[in-house]
Symmetry: C2
Subunit: 236 residues, 2 copies
Protein backbone atom coordinates (compact mmCIF):
# COMPACT_ATOMS: atom_id res chain seq x y z
CA UNK A 1 0.00 0.00 0.00
CA UNK A 2 1.52 3.21 -1.25
CA UNK A 3 0.65 6.05 1.09
CA UNK A 4 1.55 9.61 2.04
CA UNK A 5 0.78 11.83 5.00
CA UNK A 6 0.41 15.58 4.96
CA UNK A 7 0.26 17.79 8.01
CA UNK A 8 0.28 21.51 8.63
CA UNK A 9 2.53 23.26 11.10
CA UNK A 10 1.36 26.26 13.04
CA UNK A 11 3.45 29.41 13.27
CA UNK A 12 2.41 31.87 15.96
CA UNK A 13 4.79 34.69 15.09
CA UNK A 14 4.24 37.18 12.28
CA UNK A 15 7.07 36.80 9.75
CA UNK A 16 9.22 39.89 9.18
CA UNK A 17 11.97 40.86 6.77
CA UNK A 18 15.19 39.07 7.60
CA UNK A 19 13.53 36.24 9.53
CA UNK A 20 15.19 32.86 9.14
CA UNK A 21 12.55 30.50 7.72
CA UNK A 22 14.60 27.43 8.62
CA UNK A 23 14.63 28.56 12.26
CA UNK A 24 10.88 29.26 12.17
CA UNK A 25 10.23 25.82 10.71
CA UNK A 26 12.46 24.21 13.34
CA UNK A 27 10.47 25.92 16.05
CA UNK A 28 7.14 24.88 14.50
CA UNK A 29 8.38 21.29 14.23
CA UNK A 30 9.48 21.31 17.86
CA UNK A 31 6.07 22.66 18.94
CA UNK A 32 4.46 19.75 17.09
CA UNK A 33 6.92 17.22 18.55
CA UNK A 34 8.22 16.28 15.11
CA UNK A 35 11.60 15.88 13.46
CA UNK A 36 12.34 16.38 9.80
CA UNK A 37 13.07 13.21 7.86
CA UNK A 38 15.18 12.86 4.73
CA UNK A 39 12.27 11.91 2.50
CA UNK A 40 10.07 14.80 3.61
CA UNK A 41 8.81 17.47 1.26
CA UNK A 42 8.57 20.82 3.05
CA UNK A 43 5.85 23.02 1.61
CA UNK A 44 5.91 26.75 2.36
CA UNK A 45 3.40 29.36 1.29
CA UNK A 46 4.91 32.17 -0.75
CA UNK A 47 3.43 34.71 1.65
CA UNK A 48 5.99 34.08 4.40
CA UNK A 49 8.83 33.65 1.92
CA UNK A 50 7.98 37.09 0.53
CA UNK A 51 7.72 38.62 3.98
CA UNK A 52 11.06 37.17 5.07
CA UNK A 53 12.62 38.58 1.89
CA UNK A 54 11.14 42.03 2.40
CA UNK A 55 8.77 41.83 -0.56
CA UNK A 56 6.19 43.95 1.26
CA UNK A 57 5.34 47.37 -0.17
CA UNK A 58 3.06 50.23 0.73
CA UNK A 59 -0.39 50.02 -0.84
CA UNK A 60 -3.26 52.33 0.01
CA UNK A 61 -5.75 49.68 -1.12
CA UNK A 62 -7.24 51.72 -3.96
CA UNK A 63 -7.75 49.92 -7.29
CA UNK A 64 -5.38 52.43 -8.91
CA UNK A 65 -2.55 51.72 -6.49
CA UNK A 66 -3.03 47.98 -6.69
CA UNK A 67 -3.06 48.09 -10.50
CA UNK A 68 0.18 50.06 -10.53
CA UNK A 69 1.81 47.37 -8.38
CA UNK A 70 0.43 44.59 -10.61
CA UNK A 71 1.76 46.25 -13.76
CA UNK A 72 5.17 46.77 -12.16
CA UNK A 73 5.32 43.04 -11.43
CA UNK A 74 4.25 42.06 -14.96
CA UNK A 75 5.82 41.93 -18.36
CA UNK A 76 2.60 41.44 -20.32
CA UNK A 77 -1.13 41.91 -19.77
CA UNK A 78 -3.14 39.02 -21.24
CA UNK A 79 -6.69 39.99 -20.22
CA UNK A 80 -8.43 42.66 -18.21
CA UNK A 81 -11.95 42.70 -16.75
CA UNK A 82 -12.83 45.43 -14.29
CA UNK A 83 -10.24 45.41 -11.53
CA UNK A 84 -9.03 41.94 -12.54
CA UNK A 85 -5.85 41.74 -14.58
CA UNK A 86 -4.52 38.44 -15.93
CA UNK A 87 -0.85 39.04 -16.57
CA UNK A 88 2.39 37.26 -17.25
CA UNK A 89 4.68 38.08 -14.34
CA UNK A 90 8.37 38.82 -14.62
CA UNK A 91 8.94 35.16 -13.63
CA UNK A 92 6.70 33.99 -16.48
CA UNK A 93 3.72 32.93 -14.36
CA UNK A 94 0.27 33.67 -15.73
CA UNK A 95 -2.08 34.51 -12.89
CA UNK A 96 -4.51 37.05 -11.53
CA UNK A 97 -3.08 40.38 -10.41
CA UNK A 98 0.51 39.09 -10.64
CA UNK A 99 0.20 37.56 -7.18
CA UNK A 100 -0.02 40.99 -5.52
CA UNK A 101 -1.89 40.20 -2.31
CA UNK A 102 -3.49 42.47 0.26
CA UNK A 103 -4.69 39.70 2.61
CA UNK A 104 -2.74 38.46 5.62
CA UNK A 105 -0.53 41.55 5.64
CA UNK A 106 -0.66 44.73 7.70
CA UNK A 107 -3.15 47.39 6.64
CA UNK A 108 -1.58 49.78 4.14
CA UNK A 109 0.69 47.10 2.67
CA UNK A 110 0.70 44.51 -0.10
CA UNK A 111 2.83 41.41 -0.47
CA UNK A 112 4.55 40.70 -3.81
CA UNK A 113 5.75 37.28 -4.99
CA UNK A 114 9.39 36.42 -4.21
CA UNK A 115 11.78 37.66 -6.90
CA UNK A 116 13.19 34.19 -7.62
CA UNK A 117 11.12 31.52 -5.84
CA UNK A 118 13.33 28.65 -7.05
CA UNK A 119 16.32 30.38 -5.48
CA UNK A 120 14.29 30.89 -2.29
CA UNK A 121 13.49 27.17 -2.25
CA UNK A 122 17.13 26.22 -2.77
CA UNK A 123 18.20 28.55 0.05
CA UNK A 124 15.67 27.07 2.47
CA UNK A 125 16.67 23.55 1.47
CA UNK A 126 20.34 24.34 2.12
CA UNK A 127 19.51 25.92 5.49
CA UNK A 128 17.47 22.87 6.50
CA UNK A 129 20.30 20.55 5.50
CA UNK A 130 22.70 22.61 7.61
CA UNK A 131 20.35 22.68 10.60
CA UNK A 132 18.86 19.17 10.55
CA UNK A 133 21.36 17.17 8.51
CA UNK A 134 18.69 15.90 6.11
CA UNK A 135 18.12 16.53 2.41
CA UNK A 136 14.44 17.40 2.16
CA UNK A 137 12.68 18.69 -0.92
CA UNK A 138 11.14 22.18 -0.75
CA UNK A 139 8.10 23.50 -2.61
CA UNK A 140 7.00 27.15 -2.40
CA UNK A 141 3.31 27.62 -3.19
CA UNK A 142 0.94 30.33 -4.26
CA UNK A 143 -2.76 30.37 -5.08
CA UNK A 144 -3.64 30.67 -8.78
CA UNK A 145 -6.88 30.68 -10.75
CA UNK A 146 -7.24 28.50 -13.83
CA UNK A 147 -8.81 28.81 -17.23
CA UNK A 148 -11.92 26.68 -17.87
CA UNK A 149 -12.47 25.79 -14.22
CA UNK A 150 -13.95 27.63 -11.26
CA UNK A 151 -12.02 28.10 -8.08
CA UNK A 152 -8.38 28.51 -7.24
CA UNK A 153 -5.81 25.88 -6.37
CA UNK A 154 -2.35 26.13 -4.89
CA UNK A 155 0.48 25.55 -7.35
CA UNK A 156 4.26 25.46 -7.08
CA UNK A 157 6.10 28.69 -7.79
CA UNK A 158 9.49 27.46 -6.58
CA UNK A 159 11.08 24.09 -5.87
CA UNK A 160 14.36 22.51 -4.81
CA UNK A 161 15.49 18.92 -4.42
CA UNK A 162 12.55 17.74 -6.49
CA UNK A 163 11.70 17.02 -10.12
CA UNK A 164 8.78 19.42 -10.63
CA UNK A 165 7.54 17.24 -13.48
CA UNK A 166 7.86 13.50 -13.62
CA UNK A 167 8.34 12.31 -17.17
CA UNK A 168 6.70 8.91 -17.59
CA UNK A 169 6.79 8.95 -21.39
CA UNK A 170 7.98 5.59 -22.55
CA UNK A 171 6.59 3.89 -19.45
CA UNK A 172 4.40 0.94 -20.37
CA UNK A 173 0.89 0.68 -19.02
CA UNK A 174 -0.63 -2.45 -17.48
CA UNK A 175 -1.42 -3.74 -20.97
CA UNK A 176 2.07 -3.12 -22.33
CA UNK A 177 1.20 0.00 -24.34
CA UNK A 178 2.94 3.31 -23.92
CA UNK A 179 1.27 5.74 -21.52
CA UNK A 180 -0.11 8.94 -23.02
CA UNK A 181 -0.20 12.37 -21.36
CA UNK A 182 2.40 11.37 -18.88
CA UNK A 183 4.51 14.35 -17.98
CA UNK A 184 3.01 14.76 -14.54
CA UNK A 185 3.32 18.11 -12.75
CA UNK A 186 3.91 16.59 -9.33
CA UNK A 187 5.11 19.86 -7.79
CA UNK A 188 1.68 21.35 -8.53
CA UNK A 189 -0.08 18.27 -7.18
CA UNK A 190 2.04 18.52 -4.02
CA UNK A 191 1.19 22.22 -3.67
CA UNK A 192 -2.54 21.54 -4.05
CA UNK A 193 -2.38 18.62 -1.64
CA UNK A 194 -0.69 20.80 0.97
CA UNK A 195 -3.42 23.39 0.63
CA UNK A 196 -5.87 20.73 1.83
CA UNK A 197 -4.26 20.94 5.28
CA UNK A 198 -3.23 24.60 5.35
CA UNK A 199 -5.62 27.17 6.73
CA UNK A 200 -4.94 30.65 5.43
CA UNK A 201 -6.92 32.24 8.23
CA UNK A 202 -5.15 30.32 10.99
CA UNK A 203 -1.44 30.91 10.56
CA UNK A 204 -0.31 27.57 9.14
CA UNK A 205 2.23 28.50 6.45
CA UNK A 206 4.22 25.23 6.52
CA UNK A 207 3.16 21.72 5.60
CA UNK A 208 5.13 18.50 5.56
CA UNK A 209 4.49 15.70 3.07
CA UNK A 210 5.87 12.38 4.29
CA UNK A 211 6.14 9.11 2.38
CA UNK A 212 6.51 10.53 -1.12
CA UNK A 213 8.02 8.52 -3.93
CA UNK A 214 11.83 8.38 -4.27
CA UNK A 215 11.19 8.99 -7.99
CA UNK A 216 10.27 12.59 -7.15
CA UNK A 217 13.74 13.39 -5.87
CA UNK A 218 16.14 15.08 -8.23
CA UNK A 219 16.90 18.48 -9.59
CA UNK A 220 14.89 20.96 -11.56
CA UNK A 221 13.18 24.28 -11.14
CA UNK A 222 9.66 25.56 -11.50
CA UNK A 223 10.83 28.27 -13.87
CA UNK A 224 12.49 25.81 -16.24
CA UNK A 225 10.23 22.78 -15.89
CA UNK A 226 6.72 24.03 -15.09
CA UNK A 227 6.33 27.30 -16.94
CA UNK A 228 5.10 26.63 -20.44
CA UNK A 229 7.09 28.29 -23.19
CA UNK A 230 4.83 31.07 -24.54
CA UNK A 231 5.81 30.03 -28.07
CA UNK A 232 4.23 26.58 -27.57
CA UNK A 233 1.19 27.92 -25.71
CA UNK A 234 -2.04 27.62 -27.68
CA UNK A 235 -3.93 30.21 -25.64
CA UNK A 236 -1.56 33.17 -25.22
CA UNK B 1 -1.82 19.45 13.98
CA UNK B 2 -4.16 19.22 11.02
CA UNK B 3 -3.26 16.20 8.92
CA UNK B 4 -4.49 13.90 6.18
CA UNK B 5 -3.40 10.52 4.88
CA UNK B 6 -3.71 9.26 1.34
CA UNK B 7 -3.20 5.71 0.22
CA UNK B 8 -3.72 3.79 -2.98
CA UNK B 9 -5.54 0.49 -3.25
CA UNK B 10 -4.47 -2.16 -5.69
CA UNK B 11 -6.93 -3.87 -7.99
CA UNK B 12 -5.69 -7.02 -9.69
CA UNK B 13 -8.66 -7.65 -11.93
CA UNK B 14 -9.30 -5.86 -15.22
CA UNK B 15 -12.57 -3.92 -14.94
CA UNK B 16 -15.29 -4.89 -17.44
CA UNK B 17 -18.69 -3.53 -18.37
CA UNK B 18 -21.24 -4.20 -15.67
CA UNK B 19 -18.67 -4.65 -12.88
CA UNK B 20 -19.77 -3.36 -9.49
CA UNK B 21 -17.19 -0.75 -8.44
CA UNK B 22 -18.38 -0.83 -4.82
CA UNK B 23 -17.70 -4.58 -4.71
CA UNK B 24 -14.27 -4.09 -6.33
CA UNK B 25 -13.41 -1.40 -3.78
CA UNK B 26 -14.61 -3.62 -0.93
CA UNK B 27 -12.32 -6.37 -2.15
CA UNK B 28 -9.36 -3.98 -2.52
CA UNK B 29 -9.98 -2.66 1.00
CA UNK B 30 -10.12 -6.19 2.39
CA UNK B 31 -6.85 -7.08 0.63
CA UNK B 32 -5.26 -4.05 2.32
CA UNK B 33 -6.80 -4.90 5.71
CA UNK B 34 -8.73 -1.64 5.83
CA UNK B 35 -12.29 -0.58 6.54
CA UNK B 36 -14.02 2.47 5.11
CA UNK B 37 -14.64 5.29 7.57
CA UNK B 38 -17.35 7.90 7.44
CA UNK B 39 -14.97 10.80 6.90
CA UNK B 40 -13.11 9.11 4.05
CA UNK B 41 -12.96 10.51 0.56
CA UNK B 42 -12.86 7.71 -2.01
CA UNK B 43 -11.03 8.71 -5.17
CA UNK B 44 -11.55 6.66 -8.34
CA UNK B 45 -9.89 7.16 -11.69
CA UNK B 46 -12.34 7.73 -14.50
CA UNK B 47 -10.78 4.87 -16.46
CA UNK B 48 -12.40 2.14 -14.39
CA UNK B 49 -15.66 4.07 -14.07
CA UNK B 50 -15.80 4.25 -17.86
CA UNK B 51 -14.94 0.59 -18.25
CA UNK B 52 -17.61 -0.48 -15.76
CA UNK B 53 -20.13 1.66 -17.64
CA UNK B 54 -19.19 0.20 -21.01
CA UNK B 55 -17.63 3.40 -22.34
CA UNK B 56 -15.08 1.43 -24.37
CA UNK B 57 -15.23 1.64 -28.14
CA UNK B 58 -13.33 0.19 -31.06
CA UNK B 59 -10.41 2.32 -32.22
CA UNK B 60 -7.86 1.20 -34.78
CA UNK B 61 -5.32 3.64 -33.34
CA UNK B 62 -4.96 5.75 -36.48
CA UNK B 63 -4.99 9.54 -36.01
CA UNK B 64 -8.10 9.72 -38.20
CA UNK B 65 -10.08 7.26 -36.10
CA UNK B 66 -9.01 8.87 -32.86
CA UNK B 67 -9.94 12.31 -34.15
CA UNK B 68 -13.39 11.08 -35.17
CA UNK B 69 -13.92 9.79 -31.62
CA UNK B 70 -12.70 13.07 -30.12
CA UNK B 71 -15.03 15.13 -32.29
CA UNK B 72 -17.99 12.88 -31.41
CA UNK B 73 -17.29 13.53 -27.72
CA UNK B 74 -16.99 17.31 -28.20
CA UNK B 75 -19.32 20.20 -28.74
CA UNK B 76 -16.65 22.71 -29.70
CA UNK B 77 -13.04 22.70 -30.90
CA UNK B 78 -10.99 25.43 -29.23
CA UNK B 79 -7.54 24.77 -30.68
CA UNK B 80 -5.84 22.27 -32.93
CA UNK B 81 -2.15 21.53 -33.38
CA UNK B 82 -1.13 18.46 -35.31
CA UNK B 83 -2.91 15.47 -33.79
CA UNK B 84 -3.72 17.46 -30.62
CA UNK B 85 -7.24 18.83 -30.31
CA UNK B 86 -8.26 21.03 -27.38
CA UNK B 87 -12.03 20.75 -27.21
CA UNK B 88 -14.96 21.44 -24.98
CA UNK B 89 -16.55 18.09 -24.24
CA UNK B 90 -20.28 17.45 -24.09
CA UNK B 91 -19.93 17.76 -20.28
CA UNK B 92 -18.30 21.18 -20.64
CA UNK B 93 -14.75 20.12 -19.77
CA UNK B 94 -11.94 21.72 -21.74
CA UNK B 95 -9.14 19.24 -22.22
CA UNK B 96 -6.93 17.49 -24.73
CA UNK B 97 -8.59 15.02 -27.06
CA UNK B 98 -11.84 15.07 -25.04
CA UNK B 99 -10.40 12.50 -22.64
CA UNK B 100 -10.37 9.79 -25.33
CA UNK B 101 -7.65 7.46 -24.07
CA UNK B 102 -5.88 4.56 -25.75
CA UNK B 103 -3.66 3.61 -22.79
CA UNK B 104 -4.56 0.98 -20.20
CA UNK B 105 -7.19 -0.53 -22.46
CA UNK B 106 -7.10 -3.53 -24.77
CA UNK B 107 -5.46 -3.10 -28.17
CA UNK B 108 -8.00 -1.94 -30.75
CA UNK B 109 -10.06 -0.05 -28.18
CA UNK B 110 -10.31 3.44 -26.69
CA UNK B 111 -11.88 4.52 -23.41
CA UNK B 112 -14.24 7.51 -23.38
CA UNK B 113 -15.10 9.62 -20.33
CA UNK B 114 -18.22 8.59 -18.37
CA UNK B 115 -21.37 10.20 -19.78
CA UNK B 116 -22.29 11.86 -16.45
CA UNK B 117 -19.43 11.53 -13.97
CA UNK B 118 -21.32 13.32 -11.16
CA UNK B 119 -24.08 10.72 -11.51
CA UNK B 120 -21.45 7.96 -11.49
CA UNK B 121 -20.01 9.41 -8.27
CA UNK B 122 -23.45 9.59 -6.64
CA UNK B 123 -24.16 6.00 -7.62
CA UNK B 124 -20.88 4.75 -6.16
CA UNK B 125 -21.48 6.76 -2.97
CA UNK B 126 -24.94 5.22 -2.58
CA UNK B 127 -23.58 1.73 -3.18
CA UNK B 128 -20.85 2.26 -0.58
CA UNK B 129 -23.39 3.52 1.94
CA UNK B 130 -25.49 0.42 1.30
CA UNK B 131 -22.54 -1.93 1.60
CA UNK B 132 -20.51 -0.35 4.41
CA UNK B 133 -23.06 1.81 6.23
CA UNK B 134 -20.89 4.92 5.99
CA UNK B 135 -21.37 8.18 4.11
CA UNK B 136 -18.10 8.74 2.31
CA UNK B 137 -17.42 11.40 -0.28
CA UNK B 138 -16.51 10.26 -3.80
CA UNK B 139 -14.31 12.01 -6.36
CA UNK B 140 -13.85 10.69 -9.91
CA UNK B 141 -10.63 11.89 -11.52
CA UNK B 142 -9.11 12.31 -14.92
CA UNK B 143 -5.80 13.69 -16.15
CA UNK B 144 -5.95 17.12 -17.80
CA UNK B 145 -3.36 19.48 -19.20
CA UNK B 146 -3.41 23.15 -18.29
CA UNK B 147 -2.82 26.43 -20.02
CA UNK B 148 0.35 28.34 -19.07
CA UNK B 149 1.95 25.41 -17.25
CA UNK B 150 3.78 22.29 -18.37
CA UNK B 151 2.65 18.87 -17.34
CA UNK B 152 -0.67 17.32 -16.52
CA UNK B 153 -2.44 17.02 -13.19
CA UNK B 154 -5.40 14.97 -12.09
CA UNK B 155 -8.62 16.93 -11.61
CA UNK B 156 -12.13 16.05 -10.51
CA UNK B 157 -14.64 15.23 -13.24
CA UNK B 158 -17.34 13.97 -10.87
CA UNK B 159 -18.08 14.26 -7.16
CA UNK B 160 -20.65 13.28 -4.57
CA UNK B 161 -21.02 14.02 -0.87
CA UNK B 162 -18.53 16.86 -1.18
CA UNK B 163 -18.51 20.58 -1.87
CA UNK B 164 -16.26 20.70 -4.97
CA UNK B 165 -15.42 24.31 -4.17
CA UNK B 166 -15.07 25.73 -0.70
CA UNK B 167 -16.20 29.34 -0.59
CA UNK B 168 -14.16 31.23 1.98
CA UNK B 169 -15.22 34.69 0.79
CA UNK B 170 -16.03 36.75 3.83
CA UNK B 171 -13.63 34.77 6.00
CA UNK B 172 -11.25 37.06 7.87
CA UNK B 173 -7.53 36.55 7.64
CA UNK B 174 -5.15 36.50 10.59
CA UNK B 175 -5.02 40.30 10.52
CA UNK B 176 -8.82 40.69 10.42
CA UNK B 177 -9.05 41.59 6.72
CA UNK B 178 -11.17 39.69 4.25
CA UNK B 179 -9.41 36.93 2.33
CA UNK B 180 -9.04 37.41 -1.42
CA UNK B 181 -9.12 34.65 -4.07
CA UNK B 182 -10.85 32.29 -1.75
CA UNK B 183 -13.14 30.01 -3.67
CA UNK B 184 -10.93 26.97 -3.36
CA UNK B 185 -11.36 24.07 -5.78
CA UNK B 186 -10.80 21.38 -3.17
CA UNK B 187 -12.14 18.58 -5.39
CA UNK B 188 -9.33 19.31 -7.84
CA UNK B 189 -6.76 19.49 -5.04
CA UNK B 190 -8.04 16.13 -3.75
CA UNK B 191 -7.79 14.64 -7.25
CA UNK B 192 -4.22 15.89 -7.68
CA UNK B 193 -3.26 14.70 -4.19
CA UNK B 194 -4.60 11.22 -4.96
CA UNK B 195 -2.53 11.09 -8.13
CA UNK B 196 0.58 11.37 -5.93
CA UNK B 197 -0.14 7.85 -4.64
CA UNK B 198 -1.72 6.30 -7.72
CA UNK B 199 0.46 4.54 -10.23
CA UNK B 200 -1.08 4.37 -13.66
CA UNK B 201 1.21 1.57 -14.73
CA UNK B 202 0.53 -0.58 -11.66
CA UNK B 203 -3.21 -1.05 -11.41
CA UNK B 204 -4.10 1.27 -8.53
CA UNK B 205 -7.36 2.92 -9.58
CA UNK B 206 -8.64 3.69 -6.07
CA UNK B 207 -7.24 5.99 -3.40
CA UNK B 208 -8.57 6.84 0.03
CA UNK B 209 -8.09 10.24 1.65
CA UNK B 210 -8.53 10.08 5.41
CA UNK B 211 -8.69 12.95 7.88
CA UNK B 212 -10.17 15.61 5.60
CA UNK B 213 -11.97 18.64 6.94
CA UNK B 214 -15.65 18.34 7.91
CA UNK B 215 -16.07 21.64 6.02
CA UNK B 216 -15.62 19.72 2.78
CA UNK B 217 -18.75 17.66 3.30
CA UNK B 218 -21.94 18.79 1.63
CA UNK B 219 -23.58 18.67 -1.73
CA UNK B 220 -22.59 19.94 -5.12
CA UNK B 221 -21.43 18.65 -8.47
CA UNK B 222 -18.41 19.14 -10.64
CA UNK B 223 -20.57 20.14 -13.55
CA UNK B 224 -22.32 22.91 -11.64
CA UNK B 225 -19.55 24.06 -9.31
CA UNK B 226 -16.25 23.48 -11.09
CA UNK B 227 -16.89 24.06 -14.76
CA UNK B 228 -16.48 27.73 -15.55
CA UNK B 229 -19.35 29.31 -17.44
CA UNK B 230 -18.01 29.92 -20.98
CA UNK B 231 -19.63 33.37 -20.88
CA UNK B 232 -17.42 34.43 -17.96
CA UNK B 233 -14.31 32.79 -19.37
CA UNK B 234 -11.67 35.25 -20.51
CA UNK B 235 -9.80 32.79 -22.72
CA UNK B 236 -12.45 30.93 -24.69
Amino acid sequence: MNGIQLFALRLEAEVREGDDLAALLASALADAGLELQGDDVVIVTSKIVSKSEGRVVACDGTPEHKEALVLAESRRVLRRRGPLLITETRHGFVNANAGVDLSNTAAGTAVLLPIDPDRSARALRAALRHRHGVDVAVVITDTFGRTWRQGVTDVAIGAAGLRPVLDLRGTLDATGRRLEATVVAIADEIAGAANLVLDKAAGTPFAILRGGSPAWRGTGSVRRDLIRDPDTDLFR
